[in-house]
Amino acid sequence: MTEITVKIKIDGEFKRFSYDGDLNISVTTLLEKLGGIEYSCSCLQGLCGSCAMVINSQPKLACQTFLSDEIMIHEYKLITIEPLSKFPVINDLKVDKSKLYDDLLECEQWIESDSKMNYDEIDFEYEMSLCLMCGCCVEACPNYDGNDFVGTPIAVSASKLISQETDSNHLKILKKKYKDKFYPHCVKSIACEDVCPMEIQTQRAISKMNKKAVWKLWQLIDRD
């Protein structure tokens, strides 16, 4: 048992709590024990992305972040917990992620045709379908500010759909939306890949989309 200080950002200010107990617990369990703090959760096992928050300055899923693994706790007996900063706060640690979903709609992230079967790309498509929409990637991104830039979820989603779509008009739309709303804003900090809880290789998605939607030479060689 070790007593630690828990700093939680509520209404823009840090409030201090103390916790004295087993450190081999997740942050969601810690929040449950403290009580009275609102946050989103659903699966409690790292599969749904609801509980993304900023823990010791890193965007993470609270349900799979253990106190015992946090260096700040070992060094300073301290943990800070904040809501994701790139979204409006609803209450306490609960945020409104609707912008992410509005952007998926705006960028027409679907296919119009029956899906083309790409046997060589199944593993890639599987990986890109793992996106939780948790928001960790855009939280870590130095360029995402919730305005024009749509963020990595669009690149990840589009990189799968662009191989499955055979409707040429919609294929053009998928490319154009990427070229307009993602490409000019991303400076390849690779922060998104570093923090993705599903370990999606976001740079593969971005490279593929750049190749298919932006770089003219590639499009001359590899028309589709």
Binding site: S26, S42, I111, S115
Partner: protein
């Protein structure tokens, strides 16, 4: 035609997509986005007799296995449709773009699952549910862009609007703004299982069972509430009990306990033909017995499988063990025990997913028709998608006259209740929820008996009469009071079914009794009424 779908997991998504394709204007109402639904947690796969493995599998076999697994109290007409439509559903999902794992011939690969002799479970890596949700969400987005589906995220179902046995719509509350509004039109409930009754189960905490409990109190018939599946292999973590997919056994995982310093593979010894792939209720009981009711540790051993299988086909098992147990399953067996996983019972529907109230339909885990006394692994994803589609088709062909003044009055009444509600001061809601789950876990476990069940009812009666402090949250206030009623209904069904069958095992009635080869029906008219109905009634 307005169709209101409550819940945005696979059943709700399928219903919304299908209803909008037919031409309905769909409202999709849910507390959070589809990515957070319980459906994403389903790992193992989805059953369909595709017969691509040269085993002579057939729809008839799938039907027979489902009925046998359900201990012959499934709705046979519903199972017939389910199993018949399963291959078509896989074809539909492929067209939509689900990245199913493929075999060497390029076919959708199939794996072995419990209660089935044939490889019949299509899968996408170790995260089949997630892959299905991603694809259906993308497809639903297209409908949203065209104005055919409108999502209401952050909204909680409050009540149905029912007049003269007809459902005219529903009332919901926005959790963030407390806005209360009526949604006119037919209703499809796809609100998931009754997890909250047991505290934390292997499923989502969002699936609290409130919609089912409220519908019940408004006259909707429920069925088979005593049939609660304990998944054989769950692990204990500080978050909750987390499920280890049946695919681990499908790929060759073995169960053992240590006896005299050696592993004893009890399932292989007791059931030489199927071994670890007996239906879940049988495996769970095997674990219970082999462990001396939990006194000894039971292990799931996959260390003999090759590393590629564990890290690719069972990657979620690997990740869960590494993250939550700090245990590498490539080298060490996994300590497991059965845990509450799935509710076979729920809102009673016929094979068309119609409830006893005209204009009200139910699909997915909140509904009861396919699974009888025990669900086979791989049939839940199938049942959710199939149920959503069938419910949508039938909702679209059911016309209920709109009664604007009654709907307005219902909304006003709900608003009055909201405006006038007051928190109680006798018991904090967290304590009340903990007491509720303690009562349910103690009495409605894998083995039940009259004394425990009766004792639980008495404790519930005390709890029911207390004024709960819901910390100012109206939804929590209405939820906890309804769940007390639903919990009582569950326990009463377990008392009335005086036999052992599937997931319902009575230590005081250990035999299966043919007289109970029936559906348990539960109705509410101020009192909970239990009856048994023939399967074809």
């Amino acid at each position: 035609m307005n169709i209101n779908v409550v819940g945005c997991g696979l059943a709700g998504l399928s219903a919304a997509i299908k209803a909008s394709e037919l031409g309905a204007s769909v409202s999709l109402i849910s507390p959070n986005y589809s990515e957070t639904s319980q459906s994403v947690m389903a790992m193992g796969g989805i059953n369909a007799a595709l017969n691509t493995k040269g085993e002579n599998d057939s729809i008839e076999n799938h039907y027979a296995d489902t009925i046998n697994g359900g201990c012959e109290i499934n709705n046979p007409k519903a199972v017939f449709k389910l199993t018949n439509d399963a291959p078509k559903i896989i074809g539909w999902l492929e067209k939509l773009g689900v990245s199913f794992t493929r075999d060497n011939d390029g076919n959708v690969d199939l794996r072995y699952f419990g209660g089935q002799k044939y490889a019949r479970t299509a899968y996408a890596g170790a995260r089949t549910g997630k892959q299905l949700v991603t694809t259906l969400t993308s497809h639903c987005r297209k409908k949203e862009a065209r104005g055919q589906v409108k999502r209401y995220v952050g909204w909680r179902f409050l009540s149905l609007i029912i007049k003269n046995h007809q459902c005219l719509g529903l009332i919901a509350i926005n959790e963030n703004t407390s806005e209360i509004r009526a949604f006119k039109g037919n209703v499809i409930l796809a609100s998931g299982g009754l997890n909250k009754l047991f505290g934390k189960t292997s499923g989502s905490v969002l699936n609290d069972g409130y919609a089912t409990s409220k519908a019940f109190m408004q006259g909707v018939t429920l069925a088979n509430l005593e049939m609660i599946q304990f998944h054989p292999t769950t692990i204990k973590t500080t978050n909750k009990r987390i499920l280890i997919t049946e695919a681990a056994r499908g790929e060759g995982g073995k169960l053992f306990v240590n006896r005299d310093g050696k592993p004893w593979y009890f399932m292989k010894e007791w059931y030489p033909e199927f071994g670890e792939l007996m239906p879940r209720d049988v495996v769970s009981r095997g674990i219970y017995k082999a462990s001396n009711a939990g006194a000894d540790e039971v292990y799931l051993d996959i260390t003999h499988l090759d590393e590629h299988t564990i890290k690719v086909k069972l990657d979620e098992v690997y990740n869960i063990c590494m993250k939550y147990l700090n245990l590498n399953p490539i080298y060490e067996p996994i300590p497991i025990f059965p845990g509450v996983h799935y509710f076979m019972g729920g809102i009673k529907t016929d094979e068309n997913h119609k409830t006893n109230i005209e204009g009200l339909f139910a699909a997915g885990e909140c509904s009861c028709q396919y699974h009888g006394a025990n669900r086979l692994g791989g049939n839940s994803l199938l049942g959710a998608i199939h149920g959503g589609c069938i419910a949508a088709q039938n909702a679209y062909s059911t016309n209920i006259d709109t009664n604007e003044s009654f709907i307005r009055k219902s909304l006003e009444n709900e608003q009055k209740l909201f405006d006038s509600w007051r928190d109680g001061d006798e018991k904090n809601i967290v304590e009340a929820e903990n007491e509720l789950s303690d009562i349910m876990n103690a009495s409605m476990g894998m083995y039940r008996n009259f004394d425990d069940l009766d004792n639980a009812l008495q404790k519930l009666n005390v709890l029911k009469n207390m004024k709960i402090d819901s910390a100012g949250n109206y939804y929590d206030h209405v939820k906890i009071n309804s769940l007390f009623v639903l919990a009582s209904a569950c326990i009463k069904t377990a008392i009335e079914r005086k036999e052992s069958r599937g997931a319902h095992q009575r230590s005081d009635y250990p035999e299966t009794d043919e007289n109970y080869q029936k559906t348990t029906c539960i109705n509410f008219d101020g009192q909970i009424k239990i009856s048994f109905e023939g399967l074809d009634d």
